[in-house]
């Protein structure tokens, strides 16, 4: 169906001057690819943006979930779509990491960055019945018994695994990294006492910290998290650790410059609106609207930070 439509579009294009079509972009519904199932963070944030983006652009923005292969199915759908601006989507840090760790990956040069959505910094959380009251206690204990303190995180290559690995390499620690399939089982294990600490993003443990079941020892970001301004950053406690997930909006590489600019401007407009920021913050998401160029720079900086960590963990099968 999509192919027949694009065929028809191509024929229509050849009939008219190509510039005229681009000027009237967008004139039909836009597909927003989410590479994770409905209900997750990627999906919730995408739906928040897509809903408002359709008001700004004046055409429906339809969210489609392409789940599978650890997010790769959706990325391939995105990379292989026609670069006409009618297929865009969201990616997270896992898509950057997968470039180096999977077979048949989708490389970043197959995609074109449109805007930055926001960071989702990592945090270090410990169970309430562990002896660690401060970050100092924790670091000292891990140094004393290298490889013994169980930390809950994603399977190797996942965002919270990378956060743990960055913390390890920055502070010279060695954890017993226990992989769980996603944040829900990780938090369950932390609450049940199967792991002593976890490196999941702060919103995942916020409610449990409020009820006193866990203690958040520090945030791996430049400034405290808006949801928990009392939790200090790692840097404020003398530990230089910056890690975490992020989200950005991308499309297939090769989009016409004016189409990309239209999309990028519309996205930044949505992401900057007070009403949107309020809704996103209420759902627990940090917003940092950046245009295409700055977003690309941020993603490249993440790439440069994470590649040595992946190499040190011997996860790289597809070297740079």
């Amino acid at each position: 169906m999509k192919k027949t439509l694009s065929l028809a579009a191509a024929m229509a294009l050849s009939a008219f001057a190509s510039g005229a079509v681009a000027q009237s972009f967008p004139e039909s519904p836009i597909t927003w690819v989410v590479n994770w199932p409905a209900g997750g963070g990627q999906d919730t944030t995408s739906r928040l943006v897509a809903d408002r983006l359709s008001d700004v652009l004046g055409v429906p923005v339809v969210v489609e979930n392409y789940d599978g292969a650890g997010g790769l199915t959706g990325m391939r759908e995105l990379a292989n779509a026609d670069p006409d601006g009618y297929t865009i989507g969201m990616l997270g840090s896992s898509s950057i990491i997968q470039q180096y760790t999977t077979d048949e990956p989708v490389m970043m040069d197959q995609l074109q960055v449109l805007s930055f959505f926001g960071p989702d910094p990592g945090a270090l959380t410990v169970g309430a019945d562990t002896p660690y009251e401060t970050l100092d206690d924790y670091v000292a204990a891990v140094k004393e018994a290298p490889g013994d303190v169980p930390n809950g995180n994603d399977p190797p290559g996942g965002a919270s695994y990378i956060s743990a690995a960055i913390m390890e390499s920055s502070l010279g620690l060695e954890l017993n990294k226990i992989p769980y399939a996603g944040y829900a089982p990780t938090v369950t294990a932390l609450l049940g006492g199967e792991v002593q600490s976890a490196t999941v993003p702060l919103p995942q443990v916020l409610e449990h910290a409020a009820s006193g079941d866990v203690r958040i020892l520090g945030v791996m970001a430049g400034s405290p998290h808006f949801l928990a301004p009392d939790v200090p950053t790692f840097a404020a406690q003398g530990y230089d650790v910056l890690a975490g997930d992020f989200r950005a909006v991308v499309g297939p590489a090769g989009m016409p410059a004016d189409v990309a600019a239209t999309l990028s401007e519309a996205l930044v407009e949505v992401l900057s609106s007070a009403e949107f920021v309020e809704a996103a913050n209420a759902a627990g998401y940090m917003i940092e609207p950046l245009g295409a160029e700055e977003a690309t720079a941020r993603i490249e900086a993440f790439d440069a930070q994470v590649y040595p960590v992946l190499e040190a963990a011997e996860l790289v099968t597809n070297p740079k």
Partner: protein
Amino acid sequence: MTQDLLATIFADLFTFSMIGLALLGVVLGLVFGALPGVSSTMALAVMLPFTYGMETAPAMVLMLAVFFSSVYAGSVSAILLNIPGTPGAMITLLDGHAMARKGEAAEAMAYALIASIFGGIIGWILLVALAPTIAGYALRFGSPEYAAVVLFGLALVAYASSGDTLRGLAAGAIGLIVGLVGRDQITDVPRFTFGTADLQGGIDIIPLAIGLFGVAEVLVLMTRPKSEMSEIPETRARTWPRWRSLRAELPTALRASTIGTFVGAIPAAGSAVAVALAYACEKRLSKTPEKFGTGLPRGVVAPEAANNACVGGALIPMMTLGIPGDSITAVLIGVLLLHGLRPGPGLFESQPDLIVTIYGALFVAIILTALVAGAIGIPVYRKILKIPQRILTAAVLILCLLGAYAVRNAVVDVWVAIFFGTLGFAFIKLNIPVLPLAFGAVLGPLLEENLRRTLVIHGDVGVFFERPISLVLVCLSFAILLVPLALSALSFLRRRPRRHSGL
């Protein structure tokens, strides 16, 4: 709490607009859920955009109505067409479709509905009365316990699947190997992916089951000689079972509902485990275990009660801990997040009204599902069998293709359904049981992941015998597995036994 709940149900939820919304949700759930491959998750995702503009309470009423009714409706395609739309329905079809082939399709759907409602209500009562207690127990379920319960489930399935031991072993091994495909959950190393990206996420269980049961069944039907080809006999007039036969199923429904609620409350255990445990447990307790699989109502009641009790169970960790137990509750949490609410321990104090509304809404959804499905659903569903066989056959195969694709919009899943359809056809022709394959693929990855995680945390397997829950489950599993094996070995030594082979 109880008074608040009653007041909420009667004052706030029995309003024209709320009932209308719930009714809409139930009808949509009954339509979507009956389509193979269109799981409750997908039915909810389709409804998600409509909740943006709503208040939180009506949004949850709509979503819970779709949720519960679509879980029941999953049994419809299993019974009528032998296509399991959800992992939970894989067991229902064994006896459910056998009943349909005997001309008792309507009765099977009625049993499924009554069991579903019963299971739903038991799950709801446990949710309302004991949610924090059960959540505490679910938290104590660490990796060793998890591994032990899955082992127990596999042992029960091995016990429950009748037929030849060697062929069952072969099918089970193939199923477990299918479960290995994809990236290993512990080390992220790909296995049996043949260097492709498509298989890295593993083989999804729904396309597999659609192929193995749905496609294979139709292929067998197609090769039958004309002389043997008979339409499914005219459905018998009786739809609703007699009160006396219903009362006989009460202990089964109670046991299955309890299992369903508790297993559903363990994050990520899912309905497939609950259903397997409930069915195998009934078969173990039955005086006539050999009748299971031949169209026994009990074989429909047990899995359906467990499957729908899981709904209440899955809401327990979501409401008390803010942890989604499965993909369905993940969508519900998404709805709450989009409304600026963060489920978790704080929700009970900060938003007690909302908790009561959610509990009330689930109750209304259960009751409306019973009414709508009983009055309109079953009479309409049974019309499906009136479609001429040649059209129905083609439609079922097309539904299998579409259903497999719709699970996660992945092209590879269509190939998976076709592949396992062919494999299932070969299995039927070679008289190899398919059930061990399906359950090996469901339970195998869970067992391996939790077993190895246990080893990474605790260092050795001794921990299984130090923790009470895992000790009991592991011992029971070995007893179930080894006793029949020892018996059959004994009888084999006493000259060759008489073999009855069959599915």
